[in-house]
């Protein structure tokens, strides 16, 4: 599925300083029954965000009007658990384009990259700085610069670089996905398949 190109994103952010945020929290299994990729943002963090009678939980950050923006900042080991891409869809559909954490679960990270959400891994110290700056000023902005591979806290000017491989970087910059690439090498794949033992 094609997605928007990603270049430089300057935005306020939403802090979620909790470790091991798992995919069951991001999108509970009972919302995985769709056959189309639509409307998942409404159920993002459903059980943290709403009471069982569907009234919003005041204390959850997505219900706090002070915080908004296109960047979600989470604690260590963000996205652990299931392979459900629905978790990444929910994040995208809600309006986030970038997730920042000091550590991502593998499959979740891949899923994000595949749908055009940029996972930015920062050092634990830098993550703390981001949380602090958002705490003292909820409107403080982050600048995520994909071409330069840097993330900057606008208030203080503090900055750190992050890693991404060249292939995924160029995909995100251009809005391409892997299938376009693979379909173009179909002949190679088919001749490879003939030589496989199983």
């Amino acid at each position: 599925m094609a997605y928007d190109k990603f270049n430089v994103l300057t935005s306020t952010a939403v802090p979620l300083p909790i470790e091991n945020v798992d995919t069951d929290q991001i999108i509970p299994a009972r919302f995985l029954k769709a056959t189309e990729r639509k409307g998942f943002g409404d159920n993002l963090f459903r059980d943290w965000r709403y009471n069982s009678d569907d009234t919003p939980k005041e204390h959850f950050v997505l219900n706090n009007p002070l915080y908004s923006g296109k960047i979600l900042v989470g604690g260590k080991n963000f996205g652990s658990g299931s392979s459900r891409e629905h978790a990444a869809w929910a994040i995208y559909d809600y309006g986030f384009r970038c997730v920042v954490s000091s550590f991502f679960a593998d499959i979740f990270r891949n899923n994000c990259l595949n749908i055009g959400v940029l996972p930015v891994k920062v050092s634990p110290e830098f993550l703390e700085k981001i949380f602090k700056s958002m705490e003292s000023d909820p409107k403080s902005e982050l600048v995520v610069n994909l071409p330069d591979q840097t993330i900057t806290i606008n208030n203080s000017g503090e900055s750190e670089s992050f890693e991404i491989n060249d292939y995924k970087k160029s995909n995100l910059l251009n809005g391409f996905d892997d299938i376009d690439y693979l379909v173009n090498m179909k002949d190679d794949i088919q001749s490879f398949a003939q030589g496989t033992p199983l």
Partner: protein, 471 residues
């Protein structure tokens, strides 16, 4: 360049169609397993691009995540679930993929039916849109879970793009204690490494403990690899592996079998091969395990209490949040805690060996009156074996009923939801908040610990209920 290779290297390297500079490898996939929940959007993607499935004969579809575990012969009541099942059936038909829907003799949880039918083979690359695809690594396959975009990729091109993970070896030697099952071994490893301790790695399990394990046990261990963050786990194939797969429906036969065997026998880590990380544990240090918190790393030996906050490394706020959710206190004993539900099933512990262990312990006893027990076989074949081996009678005499196969309360997409606030001892793989139903509280454990809890209605050390000769 004739370096010694790990088992993982051998299988991975032989499947690389192309290596992209400072990018991922293009990896050929031998077997693709598909289920109703993570595939519809992938098929939709194919339709939008006007592409057909490239190798339908390497693709297998089953219905498991969303399915009821009672009255499977009747139409599925939940319209959304019914719609997903119908979508998979239609997609499979349109693309010529074998589909084993509800009621089909080969139907069951995707990671149970793969091995059962000989789809899972040593040295193969296997993917599925489900993180516990790591289960198939028990056969010496590279198997891992993928997202829906990747499902679409594999349907369209039989390839996936992944950077090669780092390798880790986990060695456990020595004898296991009485009542310590493969599930306990896995929960122990996760409690030691934490839920993110193996992120970025592919694990090989080695040592006496895994060598002595049955294929079912190895599947349980490999299944839980993902819970410490690993991409997957694998065990080198041996005579046990070959005996298990021989003559199953989709395994090679005759000359093809001999040829495959010659290849499979090379599938072990060479002497002197280097892993990026190695850890080892002592088998005798492991006790029957139980979890007290909201991730699988929060496990303790059953006779130990809940650790105190000062013993927790980092993340104390997360630890406290999780105890609050569980309504437990730091330092408390686990033994004796009253429980409400028992769930025996899932791709972790829904195989015949698990039902044998459970039935062995409840035999001649009675289920505690206040406990609701859901016993859900991993597949129709497991269900048949339970009946054929006389386990059903034992279970029924002890006050249990058997349900029909599926993922059930493992992820609670169907009606099998643990009510809010209730405690469930579950043989599945995740104790996340709300995993087994909104507000549900999950204690992960082995089938033996689950059986003991079902009988006494409390967290109980199974050794207390075991005859000396069952040791």
């Amino acid at each position: 360049m004739n370096a010694a290779k790990t088992l993982f290297d051998k299988v991975w390297d032989s499947h690389v169609v192309r290596s992209i500079d400072n990018g991922p490898d293009v990896l050929f996939i031998d077997r693709h397993l598909v289920h109703e929940v993570t595939s519809p959007v992938a098929f939709l993607g194919l339709r939008n691009r006007g592409i057909k499935v490239l190798y339908p004969e390497r693709t297998f579809a089953t219905a498991d995540h969303n399915t009821p575990t009672l009255n499977q012969h009747l139409p599925v009541k939940d319209p959304l679930s019914a719609n997903q099942l119908k979508a998979l059936e239609q997609n499979a038909r349109e693309h010529g993929i074998p589909y084993w829907g509800l009621g089909h003799e080969k139907n069951g949880i995707v990671h149970v039916i793969g091995p059962e039918n000989g789809i899972t083979l040593p040295g193969a690359t296997i993917v599925c849109g489900d993180s516990h695809t790591s289960t198939h690594g028990a056969f010496g396959a590279i198997a891992f879970g993928i997202g829906t975009s990747e499902v679409e990729m594999v349907l369209a091109t039989q390839c996936i793009m992944q950077p090669k993970p780092k390798s880790m070896k986990i060695t456990i030697d020595g004898e296991l204690n009485k009542a310590v099952t493969p599930k306990d071994v896995a929960l122990y490893i996760i409690s030691q490494l934490t839920t993110s301790g193996a992120t970025g790695y592919f694990v090989e399990y080695s040592g006496e403990v895994f060598r002595n394990m049955s294929m079912e046990g190895r599947m349980t261990v490999c299944n839980l690899s993902i819970e410490m963050g690993a991409r997957g786990g694998m065990v080198a194939p041996d005579e046990k592996t070959f005996a298990y797969i021989k003559d199953r429906e989709f395994t090679p036969k005759g000359e093809a079998w001999n040829k495959a065997m010659a290849y499979w026998k090379t599938l072990k880590t060479d002497n002197g091969a280097v892993f990026d990380r190695e850890v080892s544990f002592e088998g005798s240090a492991i006790e029957p395990m139980i979890t007290y918190g909201t991730n699988p790393g929060m496990g303790v030996g059953i006779s130990n209490g809940i650790p105190k906050a000062e013993a927790i490394e980092g993340g104390v706020a997360t630890y406290k949040k999780s105890l609050e959710y569980m309504d437990f206190n730091e330092g408390e004993a686990m033994l004796g805690k009253k429980i409400d539900f028992v769930f025996l099933g899932s791709c972790t512990n829904g195989r015949i060996e698990d039902f044998r262990a459970f039935a062995g312990l409840v035999k001649g006893r009675q289920k505690a009156a206040h406990v609701t027990a859901w016993l859900v076989p991993g597949s129709h074949k497991v269900e048949e074996a339970i009946k054929a081996e006389g386990l059903l009678e034992i279970l029924e005499e002890a006050g249990f009923q058997l349900r029909e196969p599926g993922c059930s309360a493992c992820l609670a997409m169907n009606d099998d939801k643990i009510p809010a606030g209730k405690y469930a001892v579950s043989t599945s793989n995740r104790n996340f908040e709300g995993r087994q139903g909104p507000g549900a509280r999950t204690l992960l454990a082995s089938p033996l610990v689950a059986a003991a809890a079902a009988i006494t209605g409390r967290v109980t050390d199974p050794r207390e209920l075991m005859e000396p000769e069952m040791a």
